[in-house]
Point group: C2
Chain length 210, copies 2
Protein backbone atom coordinates (compact mmCIF):
# COMPACT_ATOMS: atom_id res chain seq x y z
CA UNK A 1 0.00 0.00 0.00
CA UNK A 2 1.11 3.49 -0.88
CA UNK A 3 0.53 5.20 2.45
CA UNK A 4 2.34 8.53 2.90
CA UNK A 5 5.59 7.97 4.78
CA UNK A 6 4.75 10.16 7.84
CA UNK A 7 1.59 8.10 8.34
CA UNK A 8 3.40 4.80 7.83
CA UNK A 9 6.06 5.80 10.35
CA UNK A 10 3.53 6.64 13.07
CA UNK A 11 1.59 3.44 12.41
CA UNK A 12 4.84 1.51 12.87
CA UNK A 13 5.51 3.29 16.17
CA UNK A 14 2.05 2.46 17.48
CA UNK A 15 2.36 -1.15 16.32
CA UNK A 16 5.35 -1.64 18.60
CA UNK A 17 3.15 -1.06 21.66
CA UNK A 18 1.71 -4.10 23.43
CA UNK A 19 -1.89 -4.92 22.56
CA UNK A 20 -1.97 -2.61 19.56
CA UNK A 21 -2.22 -4.45 16.26
CA UNK A 22 -1.92 -3.07 12.71
CA UNK A 23 -5.61 -2.10 12.55
CA UNK A 24 -5.65 -0.19 15.85
CA UNK A 25 -2.35 1.45 14.93
CA UNK A 26 -3.83 2.73 11.68
CA UNK A 27 -7.02 3.87 13.41
CA UNK A 28 -5.08 5.83 16.05
CA UNK A 29 -2.82 7.40 13.42
CA UNK A 30 -5.69 8.54 11.22
CA UNK A 31 -7.48 9.86 14.30
CA UNK A 32 -4.44 11.99 15.15
CA UNK A 33 -4.63 13.62 11.70
CA UNK A 34 -7.72 15.45 12.96
CA UNK A 35 -6.11 16.65 16.16
CA UNK A 36 -4.53 20.12 16.67
CA UNK A 37 -0.75 20.29 16.17
CA UNK A 38 -0.33 21.43 19.82
CA UNK A 39 -1.81 18.17 21.07
CA UNK A 40 0.61 16.22 18.87
CA UNK A 41 3.54 18.29 20.15
CA UNK A 42 2.47 17.77 23.75
CA UNK A 43 2.18 14.01 23.19
CA UNK A 44 5.65 14.02 21.58
CA UNK A 45 7.17 15.99 24.46
CA UNK A 46 5.67 13.58 26.99
CA UNK A 47 7.26 10.71 25.11
CA UNK A 48 10.76 12.17 24.88
CA UNK A 49 10.60 13.34 28.51
CA UNK A 50 9.27 10.10 29.93
CA UNK A 51 12.61 8.52 30.72
CA UNK A 52 14.74 11.68 30.76
CA UNK A 53 12.71 13.21 33.59
CA UNK A 54 12.32 10.12 35.76
CA UNK A 55 14.71 8.02 37.84
CA UNK A 56 14.50 4.78 39.77
CA UNK A 57 14.34 5.31 43.54
CA UNK A 58 17.56 3.83 44.91
CA UNK A 59 15.68 2.32 47.85
CA UNK A 60 12.54 0.75 46.40
CA UNK A 61 13.35 0.99 42.66
CA UNK A 62 9.98 2.47 41.85
CA UNK A 63 9.90 5.06 39.05
CA UNK A 64 10.04 8.54 40.48
CA UNK A 65 10.94 12.15 39.77
CA UNK A 66 13.15 12.32 42.86
CA UNK A 67 15.45 9.91 44.68
CA UNK A 68 14.37 8.79 47.26
CA UNK A 69 10.80 8.59 45.95
CA UNK A 70 7.88 10.26 47.79
CA UNK A 71 6.82 6.95 49.36
CA UNK A 72 10.28 6.04 50.69
CA UNK A 73 10.84 9.56 52.02
CA UNK A 74 7.42 9.73 53.69
CA UNK A 75 8.15 9.09 57.36
CA UNK A 76 4.44 8.75 58.16
CA UNK A 77 4.34 5.44 56.26
CA UNK A 78 4.75 2.19 58.13
CA UNK A 79 8.48 1.38 57.84
CA UNK A 80 7.97 -2.15 59.15
CA UNK A 81 6.29 -3.63 56.04
CA UNK A 82 7.72 -3.99 52.55
CA UNK A 83 5.42 -5.04 49.75
CA UNK A 84 7.40 -6.62 46.89
CA UNK A 85 5.81 -6.17 43.45
CA UNK A 86 6.77 -6.93 39.86
CA UNK A 87 6.21 -3.54 38.25
CA UNK A 88 5.69 0.15 39.12
CA UNK A 89 2.12 -0.24 37.83
CA UNK A 90 1.47 -2.70 40.67
CA UNK A 91 2.46 -0.03 43.20
CA UNK A 92 -0.18 2.19 41.61
CA UNK A 93 -2.81 -0.55 41.87
CA UNK A 94 -2.10 -1.17 45.56
CA UNK A 95 -1.93 2.57 46.36
CA UNK A 96 -5.37 2.96 44.81
CA UNK A 97 -6.88 0.69 47.46
CA UNK A 98 -5.84 3.30 50.04
CA UNK A 99 -5.42 0.48 52.54
CA UNK A 100 -1.69 -0.10 52.43
CA UNK A 101 0.53 2.30 54.34
CA UNK A 102 3.82 0.42 54.21
CA UNK A 103 6.75 0.60 51.80
CA UNK A 104 7.37 -1.08 48.45
CA UNK A 105 10.08 -2.85 46.54
CA UNK A 106 9.81 -3.09 42.76
CA UNK A 107 11.55 -6.07 41.12
CA UNK A 108 11.01 -4.85 37.53
CA UNK A 109 10.07 -8.26 36.24
CA UNK A 110 9.70 -11.90 37.22
CA UNK A 111 11.98 -14.86 36.92
CA UNK A 112 11.28 -16.27 33.48
CA UNK A 113 13.87 -18.68 32.08
CA UNK A 114 12.13 -18.72 28.68
CA UNK A 115 12.78 -14.98 28.32
CA UNK A 116 16.31 -15.33 29.75
CA UNK A 117 15.37 -13.47 32.91
CA UNK A 118 17.01 -14.96 36.00
CA UNK A 119 17.18 -13.63 39.58
CA UNK A 120 20.20 -11.46 38.70
CA UNK A 121 18.20 -9.46 36.14
CA UNK A 122 15.78 -8.36 38.88
CA UNK A 123 16.27 -6.12 41.93
CA UNK A 124 16.38 -9.10 44.31
CA UNK A 125 19.88 -8.56 45.66
CA UNK A 126 18.86 -4.99 46.48
CA UNK A 127 15.85 -6.27 48.43
CA UNK A 128 18.05 -8.55 50.52
CA UNK A 129 20.54 -5.72 51.12
CA UNK A 130 17.66 -3.54 52.20
CA UNK A 131 16.51 -6.14 54.72
CA UNK A 132 20.06 -6.40 56.03
CA UNK A 133 20.35 -2.64 56.43
CA UNK A 134 17.02 -2.04 58.14
CA UNK A 135 16.10 -3.24 61.61
CA UNK A 136 12.54 -1.95 61.32
CA UNK A 137 11.08 -4.39 58.79
CA UNK A 138 9.04 -7.20 60.32
CA UNK A 139 6.91 -8.25 57.33
CA UNK A 140 7.58 -8.81 53.64
CA UNK A 141 4.49 -9.17 51.47
CA UNK A 142 5.18 -11.01 48.21
CA UNK A 143 2.64 -9.50 45.83
CA UNK A 144 3.56 -11.15 42.53
CA UNK A 145 0.95 -11.77 39.85
CA UNK A 146 -0.99 -15.01 40.41
CA UNK A 147 0.42 -16.82 37.38
CA UNK A 148 3.19 -19.35 36.84
CA UNK A 149 6.12 -16.95 36.65
CA UNK A 150 4.75 -14.93 39.57
CA UNK A 151 4.31 -18.00 41.77
CA UNK A 152 7.80 -19.26 40.91
CA UNK A 153 9.35 -15.88 41.69
CA UNK A 154 7.36 -15.72 44.91
CA UNK A 155 8.59 -19.13 46.03
CA UNK A 156 12.17 -18.27 45.11
CA UNK A 157 11.98 -15.00 47.04
CA UNK A 158 10.41 -16.60 50.12
CA UNK A 159 13.23 -19.15 50.27
CA UNK A 160 15.88 -16.53 49.58
CA UNK A 161 14.62 -14.06 52.19
CA UNK A 162 14.30 -16.78 54.83
CA UNK A 163 17.80 -18.09 54.14
CA UNK A 164 19.19 -14.57 54.14
CA UNK A 165 17.61 -13.74 57.48
CA UNK A 166 18.69 -16.97 59.14
CA UNK A 167 22.27 -16.07 58.35
CA UNK A 168 21.61 -12.68 59.81
CA UNK A 169 19.66 -13.63 62.94
CA UNK A 170 22.77 -15.12 64.54
CA UNK A 171 24.11 -11.63 64.32
CA UNK A 172 22.03 -8.63 65.21
CA UNK A 173 18.35 -9.43 64.58
CA UNK A 174 16.43 -11.37 67.25
CA UNK A 175 12.85 -11.53 65.96
CA UNK A 176 12.17 -13.09 62.55
CA UNK A 177 10.53 -11.42 59.58
CA UNK A 178 7.08 -12.63 58.58
CA UNK A 179 6.82 -13.47 54.87
CA UNK A 180 3.29 -13.29 53.50
CA UNK A 181 1.60 -13.40 50.13
CA UNK A 182 -1.67 -11.90 48.90
CA UNK A 183 -4.90 -13.80 49.45
CA UNK A 184 -6.15 -15.84 46.53
CA UNK A 185 -9.75 -16.74 45.77
CA UNK A 186 -12.85 -15.40 44.08
CA UNK A 187 -12.54 -11.87 42.71
CA UNK A 188 -15.27 -9.49 43.89
CA UNK A 189 -18.02 -9.23 41.30
CA UNK A 190 -16.92 -12.58 39.90
CA UNK A 191 -19.19 -15.53 39.43
CA UNK A 192 -18.65 -18.81 41.26
CA UNK A 193 -20.11 -20.65 38.28
CA UNK A 194 -17.46 -19.24 35.92
CA UNK A 195 -14.49 -19.48 38.28
CA UNK A 196 -11.76 -21.85 37.10
CA UNK A 197 -10.82 -24.86 39.21
CA UNK A 198 -7.54 -23.48 40.50
CA UNK A 199 -9.18 -20.25 41.70
CA UNK A 200 -11.96 -22.20 43.36
CA UNK A 201 -9.45 -24.57 45.00
CA UNK A 202 -7.55 -21.53 46.36
CA UNK A 203 -10.81 -20.01 47.58
CA UNK A 204 -11.63 -23.21 49.48
CA UNK A 205 -8.12 -23.46 50.94
CA UNK A 206 -8.24 -19.81 51.93
CA UNK A 207 -11.70 -19.86 53.52
CA UNK A 208 -12.09 -17.79 56.66
CA UNK A 209 -14.34 -18.07 59.67
CA UNK A 210 -17.06 -15.43 60.16
Amino acid sequence: MNLPRPIRKLIESFEKLPGIGPKSAARLTFYLLHVPQEQLDEFANSLTGLKKNTVLCSTCFNVSEADPCPICSDSSRDQSIICVVEQPLDVLAIEKTGRYKGLYHVLHGVISPLDNIGPDELYIKQLLDRLTRSNLVNEVILAMNPNMEGEATSMYLAKKVKGHLQGKQEGERAGGIKITRLGQGLPIGGDLEYADEVTLTRALEGRREY
Copy 2:
Protein backbone atom coordinates in the same frame (compact mmCIF):
# COMPACT_ATOMS: atom_id res chain seq x y z
CA MET B 1 -2.26 9.26 43.35
CA ASN B 2 1.31 10.50 43.50
CA LEU B 3 2.47 9.44 40.07
CA PRO B 4 5.58 11.24 38.78
CA ARG B 5 4.54 14.11 36.52
CA PRO B 6 6.29 12.82 33.32
CA ILE B 7 4.36 9.58 33.68
CA ARG B 8 1.07 11.34 34.41
CA LYS B 9 1.50 13.55 31.36
CA LEU B 10 2.06 10.64 29.00
CA ILE B 11 -0.89 8.74 30.48
CA GLU B 12 -3.06 11.80 29.82
CA SER B 13 -1.85 11.96 26.22
CA PHE B 14 -2.68 8.31 25.65
CA GLU B 15 -6.08 8.70 27.32
CA LYS B 16 -7.10 11.26 24.72
CA LEU B 17 -6.88 8.60 21.98
CA PRO B 18 -10.06 6.79 21.00
CA GLY B 19 -10.53 3.35 22.54
CA ILE B 20 -7.77 3.84 25.11
CA GLY B 21 -9.04 4.10 28.67
CA PRO B 22 -7.14 5.03 31.83
CA LYS B 23 -5.94 1.45 32.41
CA SER B 24 -4.58 0.92 28.89
CA ALA B 25 -3.01 4.38 28.97
CA ALA B 26 -1.14 3.50 32.17
CA ARG B 27 -0.14 0.11 30.81
CA LEU B 28 1.28 1.63 27.61
CA THR B 29 3.11 4.35 29.54
CA PHE B 30 4.77 1.94 31.96
CA TYR B 31 5.65 -0.31 29.03
CA LEU B 32 7.45 2.60 27.37
CA LEU B 33 9.62 3.04 30.48
CA HIS B 34 11.40 -0.15 29.45
CA VAL B 35 11.98 0.93 25.87
CA PRO B 36 15.24 2.51 24.54
CA GLN B 37 15.25 6.32 24.38
CA GLU B 38 15.77 6.18 20.59
CA GLN B 39 12.46 4.40 20.15
CA LEU B 40 10.73 7.09 22.22
CA ASP B 41 12.39 9.82 20.18
CA GLU B 42 11.38 8.16 16.92
CA PHE B 43 7.79 7.85 18.14
CA ALA B 44 7.84 11.53 19.15
CA ASN B 45 9.23 12.60 15.78
CA SER B 46 6.55 10.64 13.97
CA LEU B 47 3.91 12.43 16.02
CA THR B 48 5.18 15.96 15.44
CA GLY B 49 5.77 15.25 11.75
CA LEU B 50 2.43 13.59 11.10
CA LYS B 51 0.53 16.70 10.07
CA LYS B 52 3.52 18.89 9.19
CA ASN B 53 4.68 16.49 6.49
CA THR B 54 1.31 15.64 4.95
CA VAL B 55 -1.25 17.61 2.92
CA LEU B 56 -4.74 16.97 1.62
CA CYS B 57 -4.81 16.24 -2.10
CA SER B 58 -6.68 19.17 -3.67
CA THR B 59 -8.53 16.79 -5.99
CA CYS B 60 -9.67 13.86 -3.84
CA PHE B 61 -8.88 15.26 -0.35
CA ASN B 62 -7.10 12.11 0.70
CA VAL B 63 -4.10 12.56 2.99
CA SER B 64 -0.89 12.58 0.99
CA GLU B 65 2.72 13.69 0.94
CA ALA B 66 2.28 15.39 -2.44
CA ASP B 67 -0.53 17.28 -4.13
CA PRO B 68 -1.99 15.75 -6.28
CA CYS B 69 -1.79 12.44 -4.44
CA PRO B 70 -0.26 9.32 -6.05
CA ILE B 71 -3.70 7.91 -6.87
CA CYS B 72 -5.01 11.09 -8.55
CA SER B 73 -1.79 11.53 -10.50
CA ASP B 74 -1.69 7.89 -11.64
CA SER B 75 -2.93 8.00 -15.22
CA SER B 76 -3.20 4.22 -15.37
CA ARG B 77 -6.16 4.33 -12.97
CA ASP B 78 -9.69 4.35 -14.31
CA GLN B 79 -10.65 8.04 -14.46
CA SER B 80 -14.31 7.22 -15.08
CA ILE B 81 -15.19 6.03 -11.55
CA ILE B 82 -15.05 7.98 -8.30
CA CYS B 83 -15.53 6.13 -5.03
CA VAL B 84 -16.74 8.49 -2.30
CA VAL B 85 -15.64 7.49 1.22
CA GLU B 86 -15.87 8.98 4.71
CA GLN B 87 -12.23 8.79 5.78
CA PRO B 88 -8.70 8.24 4.43
CA LEU B 89 -8.69 4.92 6.28
CA ASP B 90 -11.54 3.75 4.02
CA VAL B 91 -9.36 4.40 0.97
CA LEU B 92 -6.76 2.13 2.55
CA ALA B 93 -9.36 -0.60 3.16
CA ILE B 94 -10.59 -0.51 -0.43
CA GLU B 95 -7.06 -0.35 -1.86
CA LYS B 96 -6.23 -3.48 0.12
CA THR B 97 -8.80 -5.47 -1.84
CA GLY B 98 -6.69 -4.79 -4.96
CA ARG B 99 -9.89 -4.84 -7.01
CA TYR B 100 -10.67 -1.16 -7.38
CA LYS B 101 -8.74 0.79 -9.97
CA GLY B 102 -10.76 4.01 -10.06
CA LEU B 103 -10.37 7.30 -8.18
CA TYR B 104 -11.51 8.38 -4.73
CA HIS B 105 -13.10 11.31 -2.99
CA VAL B 106 -12.73 11.63 0.77
CA LEU B 107 -15.50 13.52 2.58
CA HIS B 108 -13.67 13.62 5.96
CA GLY B 109 -16.79 12.78 7.93
CA VAL B 110 -20.52 12.16 7.60
CA ILE B 111 -23.52 14.39 8.05
CA SER B 112 -24.31 14.20 11.74
CA PRO B 113 -26.61 16.92 13.12
CA LEU B 114 -25.98 15.74 16.70
CA ASP B 115 -22.29 16.56 16.30
CA ASN B 116 -23.05 19.79 14.45
CA ILE B 117 -21.67 18.41 11.20
CA GLY B 118 -23.72 19.50 8.20
CA PRO B 119 -22.98 19.10 4.46
CA ASP B 120 -20.89 22.30 4.47
CA GLU B 121 -18.39 20.81 6.94
CA LEU B 122 -17.61 17.99 4.48
CA TYR B 123 -15.92 18.05 1.08
CA ILE B 124 -19.25 17.69 -0.76
CA LYS B 125 -19.14 20.93 -2.71
CA GLN B 126 -15.68 19.91 -3.93
CA LEU B 127 -17.10 16.58 -5.17
CA LEU B 128 -19.81 18.36 -7.17
CA ASP B 129 -17.25 20.79 -8.58
CA ARG B 130 -15.11 17.85 -9.57
CA LEU B 131 -18.01 16.23 -11.39
CA THR B 132 -18.67 19.51 -13.18
CA ARG B 133 -15.04 19.86 -14.23
CA SER B 134 -14.55 16.32 -15.47
CA ASN B 135 -16.22 14.84 -18.52
CA LEU B 136 -14.71 11.42 -17.90
CA VAL B 137 -16.64 10.28 -14.83
CA ASN B 138 -19.54 7.94 -15.52
CA GLU B 139 -19.98 6.29 -12.12
CA VAL B 140 -19.98 7.53 -8.54
CA ILE B 141 -19.80 4.82 -5.89
CA LEU B 142 -21.14 5.97 -2.52
CA ALA B 143 -19.13 3.89 -0.06
CA MET B 144 -20.26 5.27 3.28
CA ASN B 145 -20.32 3.11 6.39
CA PRO B 146 -23.50 1.01 6.68
CA ASN B 147 -24.88 2.86 9.71
CA MET B 148 -27.46 5.59 10.22
CA GLU B 149 -25.20 8.59 9.56
CA GLY B 150 -23.61 6.81 6.62
CA GLU B 151 -26.95 5.95 5.04
CA ALA B 152 -28.26 9.48 5.55
CA THR B 153 -25.12 10.99 4.00
CA SER B 154 -25.37 8.51 1.15
CA MET B 155 -28.98 9.44 0.40
CA TYR B 156 -28.19 13.14 0.63
CA LEU B 157 -25.26 12.75 -1.77
CA ALA B 158 -27.24 10.65 -4.26
CA LYS B 159 -29.94 13.34 -4.43
CA LYS B 160 -27.40 16.14 -4.59
CA VAL B 161 -25.29 14.55 -7.33
CA LYS B 162 -28.38 13.73 -9.42
CA GLY B 163 -29.76 17.26 -9.03
CA HIS B 164 -26.38 18.75 -9.81
CA LEU B 165 -25.99 16.69 -12.98
CA GLN B 166 -29.51 17.38 -14.22
CA GLY B 167 -28.73 21.07 -14.09
CA LYS B 168 -25.56 20.33 -15.98
CA GLN B 169 -26.91 17.92 -18.57
CA GLU B 170 -28.77 20.70 -20.32
CA GLY B 171 -25.36 22.15 -20.91
CA GLU B 172 -22.45 20.01 -22.03
CA ARG B 173 -22.93 16.46 -20.76
CA ALA B 174 -25.11 14.07 -22.72
CA GLY B 175 -24.88 10.71 -20.89
CA GLY B 176 -25.86 10.53 -17.19
CA ILE B 177 -23.65 9.43 -14.33
CA LYS B 178 -24.50 6.15 -12.63
CA ILE B 179 -24.73 6.47 -8.84
CA THR B 180 -24.13 3.21 -7.01
CA ARG B 181 -23.59 2.06 -3.45
CA LEU B 182 -21.73 -0.93 -2.01
CA GLY B 183 -23.52 -4.26 -1.74
CA GLN B 184 -24.97 -5.09 1.64
CA GLY B 185 -25.55 -8.54 3.07
CA LEU B 186 -23.80 -11.28 4.97
CA PRO B 187 -20.11 -10.67 5.69
CA ILE B 188 -17.81 -13.48 4.55
CA GLY B 189 -16.97 -15.75 7.45
CA GLY B 190 -20.14 -14.58 9.18
CA ASP B 191 -22.85 -16.83 10.46
CA LEU B 192 -26.41 -16.68 9.13
CA GLU B 193 -27.67 -17.69 12.55
CA TYR B 194 -26.06 -14.70 14.23
CA ALA B 195 -26.81 -12.11 11.53
CA ASP B 196 -29.12 -9.30 12.69
CA GLU B 197 -32.47 -8.80 10.97
CA VAL B 198 -31.47 -5.72 8.99
CA THR B 199 -28.39 -7.43 7.54
CA LEU B 200 -30.44 -10.50 6.65
CA THR B 201 -33.17 -8.34 5.06
CA ARG B 202 -30.49 -6.60 2.98
CA ALA B 203 -29.00 -9.97 2.03
CA LEU B 204 -32.42 -11.15 0.83
CA GLU B 205 -33.07 -7.94 -1.08
CA GLY B 206 -29.62 -8.09 -2.62
CA ARG B 207 -29.73 -11.77 -3.66
CA ARG B 208 -28.18 -12.58 -7.01
CA GLU B 209 -28.82 -15.27 -9.58
CA TYR B 210 -26.17 -17.93 -10.08
